[in-house]
Amino acid sequence: MDFSAIVPALPGLWNGMLMTLQLMVLGVLGGVVLGTLLAMARLSHNRLLANAAATYVNYFRSIPLLLVITWFYFAVPFILRWITGEDTPVGAFTSCLVAFVMFEAAYFCEIVRAGIQAIPKGQMGAAQALGMSYGQTMRLIILPQAFRKMTPLLLQQSIILFQDTSLVYTVGLMDFLNAARSRGDILGQPHEFLIFAGLVYFTISFAASQLVKLLQKRLAV
């Protein structure tokens, strides 16, 4: 094993890492927003809305992420063309991001729902007694508390997503893993680059999960 070829490859690998981080951050942001909307839909008194949200969540939770990524990669441009009627350039990055947001939203929805349900029911009644609307109550009273409670879980799910972004390998997007693999392949040193990639993923995920544990202790007061 000879790890010396990794040093000159670092700039390319860094670009891959940037793509991985972009996918993760945008995926988490989009996923939390869509997931929160889904959670509110699931908890709403409108049965149609609640059922639709529940179906969405069940559907995405029963199929593999890899399948979603592959499918969306081919389908998103087609679907956009149906909607807009013309060719819209959609890169692999956008397709993958859409796949992550839609997939992760199902998981974030369940986290947010549990968070909302953990807030004592009386608070909703109290807020409405004070004359607040449903939307106001959610925005000003329930959600801020719920988010505080579920921050550790949301972060843990984000670490999982950080690892799962490596699945974009299947559509040839140059994320960190694919950059490492591709470089290792061209240079004829696949093992060295793979081990290096594994170590980097481990270091980041491990450090992040330790931080989350610390945070969990502080928030638990």
């Binding site: 490859a9 390319g12 670009n15 990669y73 081919f74 389908a75 441009p77 087609f78 063309r81 013309e86 060719d87 819209t88 350039p89 959609v90 890169g91 692999a92 397709s95 559509v171 040839g172 997007l173 140059m174 950059a179 591709s182 470089r183 392949d185 061209i186 240079l187 004829g188 696949p190």
Partner: protein, 304 residues
């Protein structure tokens, strides 16, 4: 003026007169309109089709024989649209993703190592042929495999989504050869399977096999053998039913062929050291390719 700049100038002049004169009056449609509106052309490329389209010296920038020809087409498109600052975006494709990506509008022009065949013509349109290959086998010099019948009961690797994969699977079923066929994701991975001893042979287009050999730890341990199972013509892929765009690409390629500039490009990738390891493929131009360059056609090999 050196010979190559002269020929380039003639090539441009030819390309320009061929396509720009009647185009000015007509309304842009399809891919040309999309490129004009977005200011960007999306080029499909490969990451391990050595020496056609791959990441060689720079992991962000594809290079290779097909890529150089692709850039010729881009030049012509810039001229045609009067957009010298046209932005070029690269989109990596694999053997499995290339056709859907051209169809669904992600990629405007794919030049890599894509065989033009009748079946694929149902889904996409091809430019005039840019290369001609035979599908053969790469194996260790000591493996004892000299031709396809020797593969009975052995592990054979090929790349998923290629014509070789279909030929091999069909051959296995028809002749009851009992081969174990591994379909790897790309040529790099196929070669990894071969080099690590998981397969005794790798079936693929001969020029690509030469390219993989140049990547090996010991290139002298390998050779390309076997009766070609098919002769295939590579083309660049464009979306189906877009004759205006296809014409610009075709004209640019034909101009490169006629000017003889293609010979310099060929020499650069097949007869001189190529990145990343600086090995020479030593793959002289075949008579079939010479004929193809003399008489450009967008037909598949089986249609000629």
């Amino acid at each position: 003026m050196t010979k190559s700049t002269l020929s380039r100038a003639i090539g441009f002049a030819l390309a320009a007169t061929l396509c720009s004169a009647p185009a000015l009056a007509e309304e842009l449609t399809g891919t040309l309109k999309k490129i004009k509106d977005s200011g960007t052309i999306v080029l499909g490329h490969r990451d391990s089709s050595i020496p056609f389209s791959y990441f060689g010296s720079d992991p962000q920038q594809p290079e290779g024989y097909s890529h150089d020809l692709q850039l010729k087409a881009v030049e012509a498109i810039k001229q045609k649209l009067g957009m010298p600052d046209l932005k070029v975006r690269y989109n990596l494709v694999t053997s499995q993703t290339r056709i859907p990506l051209v169809q669904n509008g992600t990629v405007d022009l794919e030049c890599g190592s894509t065989t033009n065949n009748v079946e694929r013509q149902q889904q996409v349109d091809f430019s005039v042929g840019i290369f001609e290959v035979g599908t053969r086998l790469l194996t260790k010099t000591t493996s004892g495999v000299a031709d396809f019948p020797d593969l009975k009961g052995k592990n054979v690797v090929t790349t998923a989504g290629t014509t070789s994969e279909r030929l091999l699977k069909a051959m296995n079923a028809e002749k009851k050869m009992g081969m174990n066929i591994i379909s790897a994701k790309d040529h790099g991975e196929s070669f990894l399977m071969l080099e690590s001893g998981r397969a005794v042979a790798f079936m693929m287009d001969d020029a690509l096999l030469a390219g993989e050999m140049a990547k090996a730890k010991k290139p002298a341990d390998w050779h390309v053998v076997g009766t070609p199972q098919s002769y295939e013509i590579y083309g660049c892929m464009v979306r189906k039913g877009d004759p205006a765009f296809k014409a610009v690409v075709d004209d640019a390629l034909v101009a490169t062929f006629k000017s003889g500039e293609v010979n310099a490009i060929y020499d650069k990738w097949f007869l001189k050291p190529v990145p990343p390891k600086g090995l020479n493929l030593n793959f002289p131009m075949s008579d079939e390719l010479k004929k193809l360059i003399a008489n450009p056609t967008d037909k598949a090999a089986e249609q000629i």
